[in-house]
């Protein structure tokens, strides 16, 4: 059985309770949530609501302000394009994933909006000031990740949220690498939190969340059937239906509840601590003479480690490790801006443990890396 250290892309394995819930959903909850009034749809609607309420409680939101999406990218597109549809200026960080940089770039290339990129420093106050300096009278939003998906660097999101509040700017936070391992709440100053359901929340693939405090209206980019206000040709203007057109992923959503419950039971801070211990152990086993680890002293990191074997392309390293039973992702990790900032144009190999990994597995991986280097 392969050891998965690619949990920053999607966590695997999933908790048994999630697998069981998915099976139950497929076998029992076959109605179309919110459509019709028969018993099957009513039961399914109640189960979907259970997940919505669980997510709302977990992130400190109103239940109806939790929108189910396909993934974090989908949520970010709804948020960014929903806020910026009538033009304006937006600021992103210099280590964003393509889920942020591409929709922003796409809108800017059509001259709909303009954008600026704030450099991320090792110093949190300097990073916050970098955002502050870029704010213009027409700035509508700041969007940035909470923790980076390449090095795991944690951005000063609470300070950025405070800045946005002071300037009356919408703060959209990408929680893909943070939710489930950090105690993230809208009350941290976040107006719109976007996250995946299948990473740190341990839900099935095909699940994501957009959670809003309702302060900023989001124009829609997808319209269609919602099971409500059907006579009206205009999309409903109330959440969650305004942003949830078409049949939702009931099977994934029902499974997601059990993923969030699992995280609540384990506690995000304990998961963070467990995974960070594994990262430290892994780094300690790597010889700096032949492995470069992309971390700096004094910087806060989520449990993700980017590294390279000196003189070897990251893809080659990952391929060799795969043949030895270790699953790690190599390349740019869909974050070219982050690699530009990091100076790793050819990418890195990414080590990302989950709650199901342990230090012995990290030791074994480090030993395989040593063997690979010795055979160079």
């Amino acid at each position: 059985m392969a050891v998965n250290f690619d949990n920053a892309a999607t966590t695997f394995p999933k908790p048994r309770s999630v697998a069981s819930a998915v099976f139950t959903a497929v076998s029992k909850y076959g109605g179309n949530a919110g459509r019709g009034g028969h018993i099957l749809t009513a039961l399914t609607s109640e189960k979907v609501f259970d997940t919505r309420q669980t997510a709302a409680d977990f992130f400190g939101a109103e239940t109806e302000n939790v929108v189910f999406t396909l993934n974090c990218t989908h949520a970010l597109n709804l948020a960014i394009k929903g806020i910026m549809q009538n033009g304006g200026h937006i600021i992103i960080s210099g280590i964003e994933h393509n889920s942020v940089s591409r929709p922003v770039y796409a809108m800017a290339s059509k001259k709909h909006i303009s954008f600026s990129i704030a450099a991320v420093s090792d110093d949190d106050d300097e990073t916050t000031d970098n955002f502050r300096r870029l704010i213009r009278p027409d700035t509508k939003a700041i969007v940035c990740l909470i923790a980076g998906n390449v090095t795991g660097q944690i951005l000063p999101y609470k300070k950025i949220g405070k800045l946005c509040r002071e300037k009356n700017i919408c703060f959209i936070a990408d929680g893909a690498q943070a939710c489930g391992i950090m105690d993230i709440k809208l009350s941290d100053g976040i107006n719109i939190l976007c996250t995946s359901g299948h990473k740190g929340l341990y839900g099935p693939a095909g699940t994501g969340l957009l959670i809003t405090d309702g302060k900023y209206h989001l124009d829609t980019i997808i319209e269609g059937g919602t099971g409500s206000s059907s006579l009206n040709l205009e999309q409903p203007d109330f959440l969650p239906d305004s942003l949830e057109s078409g049949t939702v992923n009931t099977v994934g959503i029902i499974g997601l509840k059990y993923g969030i419950d699992f995280v609540k039971y384990k506690k995000p801070e304990r998961i963070f601590s467990h995974e960070s211990d594994i990262c430290r152990r892994f780094i300690s086993r790597l010889d700096p003479d032949y492995v470069t680890v992309y971390r700096k002293l004094g910087v806060n990191y989520a449990p993700v480690v980017s590294f390279n074997i000196n003189g070897m392309a990251p893809e080659e390293t990952a391929e060799k490790l795969s043949k030895r039973g270790f699953c790690l992702r190599a390349g740019l990790h869909c974050a070219p801006l982050a690699h530009k900032s990091l100076g790793t144009d050819n990418g890195t190999v990414r080590f990302a443990p989950s709650v199901f990994n342990n230090s012995l597995q990290a030791d074994a991986l480090a030993e395989e890396i040593r063997k690979i280097y010795k055979n160079l």
Binding site: A33, G34, G36, G37, A42, S45, E46, F49, R52, Q53, T63, E64, T226, G227, S228, S229, S230, L231, N232, P236, F238, P240, D241
Partner: protein, 82 residues
């Protein structure tokens, strides 16, 4: 908590709900306050089309006041139309 009292005359109150999410939220809230309710589809085509309706076992003035107090969203009060 406003629980029905002995001797009260139980009345039904029907309110339309913007979405099924609002309907379930209201139903569960009212349940926590001692009021049973049931979600149904609108018995006739409303002015907006498909709608969920919450039929509440409780006096209109009391349950509406309770929902208002706790910021539970609802659409239109339909008591006379059910």
């Amino acid at each position: 908590m406003l629980l029905p009292q002995r001797g009260d005359t139980m009345k039904n109150t029907a309110v339309s709900m913007p979405t099924v999410t609002h309907a379930i939220k209201a139903k569960r809230f009212l349940q926590s306050q001692g009021y049973s309710s049931e979600i149904r589809r609108s018995p006739k085509t409303s002015e907006f089309g498909c709608t969920h309706v919450l039929i509440i076992n409780g006096d209109k003035d009391v349950v509406i006041a309770l929902m208002n107090k706790h910021h539970i969203d609802y659409g239109k009060i339909l008591s006379d139309e059910v």
